[in-house]
């Protein structure tokens, strides 16, 4: 079995050693980074450092050297973002640092996206995200979006103060299988339930899965209002989206 010390890139090795503490996450990261090409490790390290110029340069070089766009995305960009998400969840880094990592991710994706779309590689799924009506808190929602994008989802961001109608329009326009709603105010939390009702009234509930989150939201509240899932933080948002989409595909008639 691969060991931490087998990771070639010194930055990655140190980052995983210092900041990743949950056994299953250590195992996953060690397996990933010992398997990943050294160039990919360097890209991931650039993401973790929030260095957009470096990621921009390394991504272009890796493509030139013949690496597949998908490999760069999965083993470089997404792998780096995974460590960033863990560091943020554990309070080792804060929002400004995460924003810088996301900017670096964007720099890398600038090279990757055109290739992926030209070659017809599909994103895992499209997710529609928005902060509900009356609420302008969007920092947490934006972090979720970064992590979703950083994990291979396509995200339509409806921004803040999103009406039920805007969610419905977006579901119809994009045919997205998942929507995510964020609320930070107790005064606006009920708007999640109202949006779900409006989706039911619009006859779209069957085709879309609903996830909710935001500091005051709880699993219980999510269940009460009939959401399909609740996520506590940005990493949970990503695993929830994956779980929901897998379940949906499994249950879909062949």
């Amino acid at each position: 079995m691969a060991e931490l010390s087998d990771i070639k890139n010194a930055t990655i090795r140190a980052e995983v050693e210092e900041f990743v503490t949950r056994p299953e996450e250590i195992a996953r990261n060690v397996a990933l980074f010992t398997r990943a090409h050294e160039r990919m490790q360097a890209i991931a390290a650039g993401i973790i450092d929030g260095d957009d110029d470096l990621v921009d340069k390394l991504t272009a070089e890796a493509l030139k050297a013949g690496h597949e766009a998908l490999e760069i995305m999965d083993d470089g960009l997404i792998a780096g973002m995974g460590v960033v998400g863990i560091k943020f969840r554990e309070n080792f880094i804060f929002v400004p640092e995460v924003l810088a990592c996301a900017r670096a991710m964007k720099a890398g994706m600038g090279h990757i996206e055109p290739i992926l779309s030209a070659s017809g590689v599909d994103p895992i799924a499209t997710v529609i995200m928005g902060t509900v009506k009356g609420d302008l808190h969007d920092i947490g929602k934006n972090l979720c979006i970064m992590m979703l994008r950083g994990s291979g989802f396509e995200v339509i961001d409806l921004g803040v103060d999103t009406s039920a109608d805007a969610f419905i329009d977006a579901i119809e326009t994009h045919g997205a299988p998942i929507i995510g709603m964020s609320a930070l105010l107790t005064t606006t939390m009920p708007n999640m339930g109202k949006t779900i009702e409006a989706i039911i009234d619009a006859g779209l509930r069957e085709q879309v899965l609903v996830m909710v989150g935001g500091a005051p939201v709880t699993q219980e509240f999510a269940d009460d209002m009939g959401a399909d899932g609740y996520g506590k933080d940005a990493l949970a948002c990503v695993s929830l989206a994956k779980q929901l989409i897998e379940a949906k595909r499994r249950n879909a008639p062949a």
Partner: protein, 349 residues
């Protein structure tokens, strides 16, 4: 703790004493952010959004904190956007059941050189409204109750005027420029704050959201500690710093600023917080809003109030602006519990 019985105080005396960490007849109850609720709006027929823009309605709604809830302070500024509106930010005034906000996605400034205070800033209706409301309240209540004003700190003004994400990225990319931006924006904090003191405010709340949910404690130290110290020195009235969210990791720095008080959130334990600030600053708080005041009942409110009193927190109240749908009975329970507790503990001042 004193042994000599303390003469009964007015609400105003009680609050001012607690801000100086002097003996009080009982712990004052206050909310340095906002006590507005929909129920209170209905009661006195002063509703959002008008109560944020019309001084008579603003004063009327604010007074309910004292007359209906039994708090020892009156806070007329329910939102955090009066000065941002006067600076020209895009506003969303909302309805009766929600707070007004700034559209931070459409920022008005992108660079330090954009920072300009409009000439008629102090004459803007949303500034004048607060000043007039304070004057009205002072006239009506005299020396009975403490009237607290509110002036936003430069960090939060940065969120409003630059947008949260651009401002936070700037802080990482160019700390020097960020400092300069804060230096310039702090003059806005002064202008509005001083005018409120002249209008009759006894103290000022100064919200400045450098919270552990967003930035590190190091950040607070690097960017804000000195500036907050300067505020404490320059303002001729006691200041109450408000930062909601996790802050215990920076309370030591906050305690050293010389501010009179810190309004803290329920994400921080009362006892641990008291130990961290070491008697260098008064603490105000920290009843949980969303889970307790909004969703639970008087019994749970009572338990949180008692935990604060037992820890020696100098002023008790909600952790931040209370949710607008909070039931009144949960709010009156705060003052009731404080009175009962002091009856049961007559020697604790």
């Amino acid at each position: 703790m004193g042994t000599a019985p303390i003469k009964s105080m007015t609400s105003r005396q009680r609050v001012l004493a607690a801000l100086r960490r002097e003996p009080v007849d009982r712990t004052p109850v206050c909310n340095p952010t906002s006590v507005a609720t929909v129920e209170l709006m209905d009661l006195v027929d002063a509703h959002f959004p008008d109560a944020n823009r019309n001084p008579v309605l603003m004063a009327k709604l604010a007074a309910t904190g004292y007359t209906e809830l039994g708090f020892d302070t009156i806070m007329p500024v329910f939102s955090i956007i009066q000065e941002s509106s006067a600076l020209g930010c895009k506003m969303q005034w909302e309805q009766k059941d929600n707070w007004p906000t700034v559209r931070m996605r459409e920022p008005i400034w992108t660079d330090v050189d954009d920072i300009k205070v409009p000439k008629d800033f102090m004459k803007h209706p949303d500034i004048v409204c607060v000043l007039d409301a304070i004057k009205l309240l002072r006239r009506e209540f005299g020396d009975e109750v403490a009237i607290v004003g509110k002036t936003m700190g430069p960090w939060t003004l940065g969120y409003h005027c630059f947008g949260v994400e651009p401002f936070l990225l700037l802080s990482l990319d160019d700390p020097g420029k960020t400092m300069l931006a804060l230096e310039r924006m702090k003059e806005i904090t002064y202008l509005f704050g001083l005018a409120q003191i002249e209008a009759g405010a006894d103290a000022l709340t100064l919200p400045d959201h450098a919270t552990g949910d967003l930035v590190s404690a190091e950040y607070y130290k690097r960017f804000l500690q000195d500036m907050h110290t300067e505020f404490a020195e320059r303002f001729p009235a006691p200041l109450i710093l408000h930062i909601c969210g996790r802050t215990v990791d920076r309370m030591g720095y906050i305690a050293d600023t010389g501010m009179a008080a810190f309004h803290f959130d329920s994400k921080n334990k009362p006892q641990e917080s008291m130990e961290t600030v070491h008697g260098k600053i008064s603490l105000v708080g920290n009843i949980n809003n969303p889970e307790t005041l909004f969703s639970k009942g008087p019994e749970e409110v009572r338990a949180e109030v008692e935990a604060n009193l037992a820890a020696g927190v100098q002023m008790v109240g909600p952790e931040c602006a209370i949710p607008l749908q909070t039931p009144i009975e949960n709010l009156t329970e705060i003052s009731r519990t404080v009175r009962d507790w002091h009856h049961a503990h007559p020697h604790v001042h």
